[in-house]
Protein backbone atom coordinates (compact mmCIF):
# COMPACT_ATOMS: atom_id res chain seq x y z
CA UNK A 1 0.00 0.00 0.00
CA UNK A 2 1.43 3.37 -0.91
CA UNK A 3 1.16 5.76 1.98
CA UNK A 4 -0.41 9.11 1.02
CA UNK A 5 1.01 12.44 2.15
CA UNK A 6 -0.74 14.42 4.89
CA UNK A 7 -2.19 17.88 4.20
CA UNK A 8 -3.02 19.27 7.61
CA UNK A 9 -1.62 19.13 11.12
CA UNK A 10 -3.72 19.89 14.17
CA UNK A 11 -1.31 21.14 16.84
CA UNK A 12 -3.02 20.79 20.21
CA UNK A 13 -0.44 22.89 22.01
CA UNK A 14 -2.08 22.71 25.46
CA UNK A 15 -5.15 21.27 27.16
CA UNK A 16 -5.24 24.17 29.63
CA UNK A 17 -8.42 26.21 29.05
CA UNK A 18 -10.34 28.99 30.84
CA UNK A 19 -13.73 27.60 29.72
CA UNK A 20 -15.64 24.56 31.01
CA UNK A 21 -17.94 23.63 28.11
CA UNK A 22 -19.85 20.45 29.00
CA UNK A 23 -19.37 18.91 25.53
CA UNK A 24 -15.59 19.17 25.56
CA UNK A 25 -14.00 15.83 24.72
CA UNK A 26 -10.40 16.63 25.58
CA UNK A 27 -8.69 14.41 28.14
CA UNK A 28 -8.50 15.81 31.68
CA UNK A 29 -5.44 14.00 33.04
CA UNK A 30 -3.20 16.49 34.84
CA UNK A 31 -0.09 14.87 33.35
CA UNK A 32 -1.15 16.24 29.93
CA UNK A 33 -1.22 19.79 31.28
CA UNK A 34 2.08 20.21 33.02
CA UNK A 35 4.04 23.19 31.85
CA UNK A 36 6.92 22.48 29.49
CA UNK A 37 10.21 21.89 31.21
CA UNK A 38 13.67 20.85 30.30
CA UNK A 39 14.61 17.18 30.28
CA UNK A 40 16.35 16.17 33.48
CA UNK A 41 19.27 13.79 33.50
CA UNK A 42 19.31 13.49 29.71
CA UNK A 43 16.03 11.53 29.34
CA UNK A 44 12.83 12.70 27.73
CA UNK A 45 10.90 15.29 29.66
CA UNK A 46 7.29 14.84 30.63
CA UNK A 47 4.69 17.55 30.37
CA UNK A 48 3.85 19.77 27.40
CA UNK A 49 6.24 19.90 24.47
CA UNK A 50 8.82 22.67 24.65
CA UNK A 51 9.07 25.43 22.04
CA UNK A 52 12.00 23.65 20.38
CA UNK A 53 10.12 20.35 20.28
CA UNK A 54 7.13 22.02 18.59
CA UNK A 55 9.42 23.68 16.06
CA UNK A 56 10.82 20.27 15.20
CA UNK A 57 7.28 18.88 14.76
CA UNK A 58 6.45 21.80 12.45
CA UNK A 59 9.56 21.28 10.29
CA UNK A 60 8.98 17.54 10.05
CA UNK A 61 5.30 18.05 9.17
CA UNK A 62 6.19 20.46 6.34
CA UNK A 63 8.76 17.97 5.03
CA UNK A 64 6.05 15.26 4.98
CA UNK A 65 3.84 17.45 2.77
CA UNK A 66 1.63 19.23 5.31
CA UNK A 67 0.35 22.59 3.96
CA UNK A 68 -1.91 23.75 6.80
CA UNK A 69 -1.51 23.91 10.55
CA UNK A 70 -4.24 24.59 13.10
CA UNK A 71 -3.08 25.74 16.51
CA UNK A 72 -5.67 24.45 18.91
CA UNK A 73 -6.08 23.06 22.41
CA UNK A 74 -7.39 23.61 25.05
CA UNK A 75 -6.74 27.28 24.71
CA UNK A 76 -3.61 27.81 22.60
CA UNK A 77 -3.20 31.38 23.91
CA UNK A 78 -2.20 29.80 27.23
CA UNK A 79 1.15 29.09 25.51
CA UNK A 80 3.32 32.20 25.81
CA UNK A 81 5.42 30.99 22.83
CA UNK A 82 2.44 30.91 20.43
CA UNK A 83 3.70 33.77 18.22
CA UNK A 84 7.08 32.07 17.98
CA UNK A 85 5.44 28.81 16.87
CA UNK A 86 3.34 30.66 14.28
CA UNK A 87 6.49 32.29 12.93
CA UNK A 88 8.15 28.88 12.66
CA UNK A 89 5.12 27.54 10.78
CA UNK A 90 5.20 30.45 8.32
CA UNK A 91 8.91 29.91 7.77
CA UNK A 92 8.00 26.32 6.84
CA UNK A 93 5.44 27.79 4.36
CA UNK A 94 2.43 26.45 6.26
CA UNK A 95 -0.95 28.19 6.22
CA UNK A 96 -1.57 29.06 9.87
CA UNK A 97 -4.95 28.94 11.62
CA UNK A 98 -5.56 29.77 15.26
CA UNK A 99 -8.54 28.02 16.85
CA UNK A 100 -9.31 29.89 20.05
CA UNK A 101 -11.84 30.93 22.69
CA UNK A 102 -10.30 34.40 22.40
CA UNK A 103 -9.84 34.66 26.17
CA UNK A 104 -6.49 36.33 26.73
CA UNK A 105 -6.30 38.04 23.34
CA UNK A 106 -5.54 41.72 23.97
CA UNK A 107 -4.37 44.35 21.47
CA UNK A 108 -0.68 43.59 21.94
CA UNK A 109 -1.19 39.88 21.53
CA UNK A 110 -3.32 40.28 18.38
CA UNK A 111 -0.59 42.44 16.84
CA UNK A 112 2.13 39.99 17.85
CA UNK A 113 0.27 37.09 16.24
CA UNK A 114 -0.40 39.08 13.07
CA UNK A 115 3.21 40.18 12.83
CA UNK A 116 4.28 36.56 13.23
CA UNK A 117 2.29 35.86 10.04
CA UNK A 118 -0.95 34.35 11.36
CA UNK A 119 -3.24 33.73 8.35
CA UNK A 120 -6.62 33.22 9.99
CA UNK A 121 -8.45 33.01 13.31
CA UNK A 122 -11.37 30.76 14.22
CA UNK A 123 -13.10 32.21 17.27
CA UNK A 124 -15.46 30.01 19.25
CA UNK A 125 -18.79 31.29 20.55
CA UNK A 126 -21.25 29.35 22.69
CA UNK A 127 -24.42 31.30 21.74
CA UNK A 128 -25.50 34.72 20.44
CA UNK A 129 -26.01 36.39 23.82
CA UNK A 130 -24.25 36.57 27.18
CA UNK A 131 -26.53 34.80 29.60
CA UNK A 132 -26.89 31.58 27.62
CA UNK A 133 -23.33 31.69 26.24
CA UNK A 134 -21.78 32.15 29.68
CA UNK A 135 -23.98 29.46 31.14
CA UNK A 136 -22.72 27.01 28.50
CA UNK A 137 -19.07 28.05 28.86
CA UNK A 138 -19.23 27.93 32.66
CA UNK A 139 -17.38 31.26 32.66
CA UNK A 140 -18.03 34.93 31.97
CA UNK A 141 -16.65 34.95 28.46
CA UNK A 142 -19.19 36.21 25.92
CA UNK A 143 -18.67 39.98 26.28
CA UNK A 144 -14.90 39.49 26.11
CA UNK A 145 -15.29 37.45 22.94
CA UNK A 146 -17.29 40.25 21.29
CA UNK A 147 -14.47 42.62 22.13
CA UNK A 148 -11.86 40.16 20.82
CA UNK A 149 -13.75 39.79 17.52
CA UNK A 150 -13.54 43.56 17.03
CA UNK A 151 -9.80 43.52 17.76
CA UNK A 152 -9.25 40.74 15.22
CA UNK A 153 -11.19 42.72 12.58
CA UNK A 154 -9.21 45.86 13.38
CA UNK A 155 -5.95 43.96 12.90
CA UNK A 156 -7.19 42.80 9.48
CA UNK A 157 -6.96 39.08 10.23
CA UNK A 158 -9.59 36.91 8.47
CA UNK A 159 -12.18 35.76 11.01
CA UNK A 160 -14.26 32.59 11.22
CA UNK A 161 -16.74 31.90 14.01
CA UNK A 162 -17.23 28.38 15.36
CA UNK A 163 -20.41 27.37 17.15
CA UNK A 164 -21.09 23.99 18.69
CA UNK A 165 -24.83 23.52 18.19
CA UNK A 166 -26.92 21.46 20.61
CA UNK A 167 -30.36 21.31 22.21
CA UNK A 168 -29.84 24.43 24.28
CA UNK A 169 -28.79 26.81 21.48
CA UNK A 170 -30.12 25.28 18.22
CA UNK A 171 -33.34 27.30 18.36
CA UNK A 172 -31.30 30.51 18.34
CA UNK A 173 -29.73 29.82 14.96
CA UNK A 174 -31.20 32.96 13.29
CA UNK A 175 -29.70 35.17 16.02
CA UNK A 176 -26.41 33.25 15.80
CA UNK A 177 -26.22 33.97 12.07
CA UNK A 178 -27.10 37.64 12.74
CA UNK A 179 -24.22 37.84 15.21
CA UNK A 180 -21.84 36.40 12.61
CA UNK A 181 -22.92 39.09 10.18
CA UNK A 182 -22.70 41.88 12.77
CA UNK A 183 -19.15 40.87 13.75
CA UNK A 184 -17.99 40.95 10.13
CA UNK A 185 -16.80 37.34 10.04
CA UNK A 186 -16.06 35.78 6.65
CA UNK A 187 -17.03 32.28 7.66
CA UNK A 188 -19.11 30.45 10.24
CA UNK A 189 -19.13 26.80 11.18
CA UNK A 190 -22.27 25.43 12.84
CA UNK A 191 -21.34 22.00 14.12
CA UNK A 192 -24.11 19.92 15.61
CA UNK A 193 -23.50 17.51 18.42
CA UNK A 194 -25.73 14.45 18.25
CA UNK A 195 -28.56 15.36 20.60
CA UNK A 196 -31.05 17.86 19.10
CA UNK A 197 -34.47 16.46 18.14
CA UNK A 198 -35.37 15.74 14.52
CA UNK A 199 -37.72 18.71 14.53
CA UNK A 200 -34.94 21.03 15.73
CA UNK A 201 -32.45 19.65 13.21
CA UNK A 202 -34.84 20.03 10.26
CA UNK A 203 -35.75 23.58 11.24
CA UNK A 204 -32.10 24.51 11.72
CA UNK A 205 -31.18 23.07 8.33
CA UNK A 206 -33.85 25.19 6.63
CA UNK A 207 -32.62 28.31 8.43
CA UNK A 208 -28.99 27.58 7.52
CA UNK A 209 -29.90 26.88 3.87
CA UNK A 210 -31.84 30.16 3.56
CA UNK A 211 -29.03 32.12 5.24
CA UNK A 212 -26.49 30.50 2.92
CA UNK A 213 -28.40 31.78 -0.11
CA UNK A 214 -28.93 35.26 1.39
CA UNK A 215 -25.27 35.69 2.39
CA UNK A 216 -23.62 33.99 -0.62
CA UNK A 217 -20.36 35.70 -1.52
CA UNK A 218 -20.36 37.47 1.87
CA UNK A 219 -20.23 34.78 4.55
CA UNK A 220 -19.47 31.10 4.02
CA UNK A 221 -21.85 29.07 6.16
CA UNK A 222 -20.97 25.47 7.02
CA UNK A 223 -23.84 23.60 8.63
CA UNK A 224 -22.75 20.19 9.80
CA UNK A 225 -25.70 17.80 10.15
CA UNK A 226 -25.48 15.43 13.13
CA UNK A 227 -24.93 12.10 11.44
CA UNK A 228 -27.37 10.14 13.63
CA UNK A 229 -29.98 11.66 11.33
CA UNK A 230 -28.30 10.40 8.19
CA UNK A 231 -28.40 6.95 6.61
CA UNK A 232 -24.77 6.79 5.52
CA UNK A 233 -21.76 7.76 7.62
CA UNK A 234 -19.59 10.82 7.12
CA UNK A 235 -16.24 10.31 5.36
CA UNK A 236 -14.51 10.82 8.68
CA UNK A 237 -11.03 12.41 8.24
CA UNK A 238 -11.33 11.54 4.54
CA UNK A 239 -10.02 8.16 5.63
CA UNK A 240 -7.80 7.16 8.54
CA UNK A 241 -4.19 8.20 8.04
CA UNK A 242 -4.95 9.76 4.64
CA UNK A 243 -4.79 13.53 5.12
CA UNK A 244 -4.72 14.57 8.75
CA UNK A 245 -2.62 14.16 11.82
CA UNK A 246 -2.89 15.57 15.32
CA UNK A 247 -0.10 16.11 17.82
CA UNK A 248 -1.32 16.43 21.40
CA UNK A 249 0.24 18.66 24.11
CA UNK A 250 2.70 16.02 25.29
CA UNK A 251 3.71 14.89 21.80
CA UNK A 252 1.52 11.86 21.16
CA UNK A 253 0.71 11.68 17.45
CA UNK A 254 -2.92 10.79 16.75
CA UNK A 255 -4.64 9.87 13.48
CA UNK A 256 -7.74 11.62 14.91
CA UNK A 257 -8.03 14.07 17.83
CA UNK A 258 -10.59 11.94 19.71
CA UNK A 259 -8.93 8.57 19.08
CA UNK A 260 -6.90 8.63 22.30
CA UNK A 261 -10.01 8.60 24.46
CA UNK A 262 -12.41 6.70 22.17
CA UNK A 263 -10.15 3.79 21.14
CA UNK A 264 -8.38 2.67 24.31
CA UNK A 265 -6.57 -0.32 22.78
CA UNK A 266 -4.70 1.81 20.26
CA UNK A 267 -1.17 2.71 21.31
CA UNK A 268 0.17 6.03 20.03
CA UNK A 269 3.73 7.00 19.23
CA UNK A 270 5.38 10.06 20.73
CA UNK A 271 7.51 12.55 18.87
CA UNK A 272 9.99 12.51 21.75
CA UNK A 273 10.85 8.94 20.76
CA UNK A 274 10.26 8.87 16.98
CA UNK A 275 10.25 11.29 14.07
CA UNK A 276 6.98 12.30 12.45
CA UNK A 277 7.83 10.68 9.11
CA UNK A 278 8.23 7.23 10.71
CA UNK A 279 5.06 7.65 12.74
CA UNK A 280 3.01 8.67 9.69
CA UNK A 281 4.39 5.94 7.42
CA UNK A 282 5.14 3.00 9.65
CA UNK A 283 3.33 3.16 12.98
CA UNK A 284 0.68 0.62 13.92
CA UNK A 285 -1.74 3.37 14.99
CA UNK A 286 -1.70 5.11 11.58
CA UNK A 287 -1.84 1.84 9.63
CA UNK A 288 -4.53 0.03 11.64
CA UNK A 289 -7.46 1.51 9.66
CA UNK A 290 -5.63 2.91 6.65
CA UNK A 291 -7.01 1.98 3.21
CA UNK A 292 -9.69 -0.72 2.82
CA UNK A 293 -7.91 -3.92 3.94
CA UNK A 294 -9.06 -3.65 7.55
CA UNK A 295 -12.73 -3.37 6.61
CA UNK A 296 -15.35 -5.90 7.68
CA UNK A 297 -18.52 -6.53 5.69
CA UNK A 298 -20.70 -4.70 4.70
CA UNK A 299 -17.91 -2.14 4.03
CA UNK A 300 -15.46 -4.53 2.37
CA UNK A 301 -17.61 -5.14 -0.72
CA UNK A 302 -19.46 -1.81 -0.63
CA UNK A 303 -19.21 0.51 -3.66
CA UNK A 304 -19.08 3.44 -1.19
CA UNK A 305 -16.00 2.13 0.64
CA UNK A 306 -13.68 4.73 -0.84
CA UNK A 307 -16.27 7.48 -0.50
CA UNK A 308 -17.10 7.23 3.22
CA UNK A 309 -14.18 4.96 4.27
CA UNK A 310 -16.48 3.07 6.64
CA UNK A 311 -17.28 6.23 8.60
CA UNK A 312 -15.93 7.18 12.00
CA UNK A 313 -13.70 4.71 13.89
CA UNK A 314 -14.33 6.47 17.20
CA UNK A 315 -18.12 6.32 16.77
CA UNK A 316 -17.85 2.60 15.95
CA UNK A 317 -15.74 2.04 19.08
CA UNK A 318 -18.00 4.06 21.37
CA UNK A 319 -21.33 2.63 20.16
CA UNK A 320 -20.45 -0.96 19.18
CA UNK A 321 -17.45 -1.71 21.38
CA UNK A 322 -15.06 -2.21 18.46
CA UNK A 323 -13.32 0.44 16.35
CA UNK A 324 -13.03 -2.12 13.54
CA UNK A 325 -16.79 -2.30 12.98
CA UNK A 326 -18.71 -0.40 10.31
CA UNK A 327 -19.86 2.99 11.65
CA UNK A 328 -23.29 2.15 13.12
CA UNK A 329 -24.80 5.29 11.51
CA UNK A 330 -24.72 3.36 8.21
CA UNK A 331 -28.12 1.84 7.39
CA UNK A 332 -26.25 -1.28 6.20
CA UNK A 333 -24.49 -1.74 9.55
CA UNK A 334 -25.71 -4.70 11.63
CA UNK A 335 -25.49 -2.26 14.59
CA UNK A 336 -27.73 0.53 13.19
CA UNK A 337 -30.33 -0.41 15.84
CA UNK A 338 -28.03 1.13 18.48
CA UNK A 339 -28.30 4.54 16.77
CA UNK A 340 -32.05 4.17 16.21
CA UNK A 341 -32.54 3.46 19.91
CA UNK A 342 -30.64 6.64 20.82
CA UNK A 343 -32.75 8.61 18.32
CA UNK A 344 -36.00 7.25 19.79
CA UNK A 345 -34.80 8.31 23.20
CA UNK A 346 -33.83 11.83 22.02
CA UNK A 347 -37.07 12.38 20.13
CA UNK A 348 -39.39 11.16 22.88
CA UNK A 349 -38.00 13.69 25.33
CA UNK A 350 -38.60 17.43 25.24
CA UNK A 351 -36.56 19.92 23.24
CA UNK A 352 -34.87 21.01 26.42
CA UNK A 353 -31.80 19.32 27.73
CA UNK A 354 -31.56 18.29 31.34
CA UNK A 355 -28.84 19.43 33.67
CA UNK A 356 -25.35 19.16 32.37
CA UNK A 357 -21.98 18.59 33.92
CA UNK A 358 -19.26 21.14 33.36
CA UNK A 359 -15.84 20.05 32.31
CA UNK A 360 -13.48 20.18 35.27
CA UNK A 361 -10.24 21.41 33.84
CA UNK A 362 -7.25 19.56 35.20
CA UNK A 363 -5.17 21.36 37.77
CA UNK A 364 -1.55 21.00 36.81
CA UNK A 365 0.63 20.01 39.72
CA UNK A 366 2.38 23.00 41.21
CA UNK A 367 6.10 22.60 41.19
CA UNK A 368 7.65 22.26 44.59
CA UNK A 369 8.98 25.54 45.81
CA UNK A 370 11.73 25.95 48.34
CA UNK A 371 9.27 27.40 50.81
CA UNK A 372 7.81 24.80 53.13
CA UNK A 373 4.56 26.66 53.56
CA UNK A 374 1.43 26.04 51.39
Amino acid sequence: MTVPRPYALLAEVTYRCPLHCPYCSNPVAASLCEAPRRPQGGGYSNGELTTEEWKRVIREAAALGVLQIGFSGGEPLARRDLAELIRAAREAKLYTNLITSGIGLDDDRVRALRDAGLDSIQLSFQADESSLADEIAGARAHERKLDVAAKIRAAGIPLSLNFVIHKRNIDRLPQIIDLTEALGAERVELANVQFPTRKQVDRARDIATAAKARLAGKIDIFYVLPDYYETRPKPCLNGWGQRYLTVDPVGDVLPCPTASSAIPDLRFENIRARNLDWIWQESESFNRFRGTEWMPEPCRSCPQREIDFGGCRCQAALLTGSAANTDPVCELSPNRAVVDAVLRNINSSSDYAGDWRYRQNPKPRTYVSTSASL
Binding site: N97, I157, E186
Partner: protein
Protein backbone atom coordinates in the same frame (compact mmCIF):
# COMPACT_ATOMS: atom_id res chain seq x y z
CA UNK B 1 -26.29 33.35 -8.18
CA UNK B 2 -23.64 33.35 -10.86
CA UNK B 3 -21.79 36.48 -11.85
CA UNK B 4 -21.73 36.40 -15.63
CA UNK B 5 -20.58 39.85 -16.51
CA UNK B 6 -17.22 40.85 -15.14
CA UNK B 7 -15.94 44.02 -16.76
CA UNK B 8 -12.69 44.05 -18.75
CA UNK B 9 -11.59 46.82 -16.40
CA UNK B 10 -12.14 44.80 -13.20
CA UNK B 11 -8.96 44.02 -11.30
CA UNK B 12 -9.12 40.52 -9.82
CA UNK B 13 -7.10 39.71 -6.71
CA UNK B 14 -6.90 36.90 -4.20
CA UNK B 15 -9.46 37.36 -1.42
CA UNK B 16 -8.34 38.22 2.08
CA UNK B 17 -6.73 35.26 3.81
CA UNK B 18 -6.08 33.36 0.57
CA UNK B 19 -2.53 32.41 -0.39
CA UNK B 20 -1.19 31.16 -3.73
CA UNK B 21 1.70 28.79 -3.25
CA UNK B 22 3.61 25.97 -4.88
CA UNK B 23 3.02 22.63 -3.20
CA UNK B 24 6.57 21.36 -2.84
CA UNK B 25 5.38 17.73 -2.76
CA UNK B 26 3.76 17.87 -6.21
CA UNK B 27 5.27 20.99 -7.77
CA UNK B 28 1.71 22.12 -8.51
CA UNK B 29 0.18 25.40 -7.59
CA UNK B 30 -2.38 25.51 -4.75
CA UNK B 31 -4.66 28.04 -3.07
CA UNK B 32 -4.57 27.88 0.72
CA UNK B 33 -7.39 29.37 2.80
CA UNK B 34 -8.98 28.74 6.21
CA UNK B 35 -9.65 25.00 6.45
CA UNK B 36 -9.15 24.46 2.75
CA UNK B 37 -6.76 23.69 -0.08
CA UNK B 38 -7.53 23.86 -3.80
CA UNK B 39 -5.13 22.39 -6.32
CA UNK B 40 -5.06 24.56 -9.43
CA UNK B 41 -4.93 23.36 -13.01
CA UNK B 42 -2.54 25.05 -15.38
CA UNK B 43 -5.13 27.51 -16.69
CA UNK B 44 -6.14 28.65 -13.21
CA UNK B 45 -2.49 28.93 -12.20
CA UNK B 46 -1.68 31.10 -15.24
CA UNK B 47 -4.63 33.37 -14.49
CA UNK B 48 -4.10 33.69 -10.74
CA UNK B 49 -0.40 34.33 -10.96
CA UNK B 50 -1.33 37.45 -12.98
CA UNK B 51 -3.90 38.73 -10.47
CA UNK B 52 -1.60 41.40 -9.08
CA UNK B 53 -3.41 44.60 -10.01
CA UNK B 54 -3.72 43.94 -13.74
CA UNK B 55 -7.19 44.26 -15.28
CA UNK B 56 -9.10 41.29 -16.60
CA UNK B 57 -8.67 42.67 -20.14
CA UNK B 58 -4.90 42.83 -19.72
CA UNK B 59 -4.75 39.28 -18.37
CA UNK B 60 -6.76 37.95 -21.31
CA UNK B 61 -4.54 39.79 -23.85
CA UNK B 62 -1.37 38.45 -22.25
CA UNK B 63 -2.60 34.89 -22.15
CA UNK B 64 -3.86 35.10 -25.74
CA UNK B 65 -0.43 36.22 -26.89
CA UNK B 66 1.47 33.72 -24.83
CA UNK B 67 -0.64 30.71 -25.84
CA UNK B 68 -1.51 32.00 -29.34
CA UNK B 69 -5.16 31.37 -28.48
CA UNK B 70 -8.37 32.97 -29.66
CA UNK B 71 -8.97 35.84 -27.26
CA UNK B 72 -12.78 35.56 -27.30
CA UNK B 73 -12.74 31.92 -26.22
CA UNK B 74 -10.00 32.68 -23.73
CA UNK B 75 -11.96 35.60 -22.26
CA UNK B 76 -14.85 33.22 -21.56
CA UNK B 77 -12.50 30.72 -19.84
CA UNK B 78 -10.91 33.43 -17.72
CA UNK B 79 -14.29 34.88 -16.70
CA UNK B 80 -15.67 31.41 -15.82
CA UNK B 81 -12.63 30.51 -13.75
CA UNK B 82 -12.57 33.82 -11.89
CA UNK B 83 -16.31 33.93 -11.25
CA UNK B 84 -16.22 30.36 -9.93
CA UNK B 85 -13.41 31.35 -7.56
CA UNK B 86 -15.28 34.51 -6.62
CA UNK B 87 -18.34 32.45 -5.64
CA UNK B 88 -16.06 30.38 -3.43
CA UNK B 89 -14.76 33.63 -1.89
CA UNK B 90 -11.21 32.91 -3.07
CA UNK B 91 -11.05 35.82 -5.51
CA UNK B 92 -12.42 39.35 -5.35
CA UNK B 93 -12.62 42.24 -7.82
CA UNK B 94 -11.56 45.82 -7.32
Amino acid sequence: MRVTTISDLARPSLAKGVRLQIDSTTGKSVLLYPEGIVELNETAHEILSRCDGRTLGEIVRELAEEYEADSNALATDVRDTLSDLQQRKLVEFK
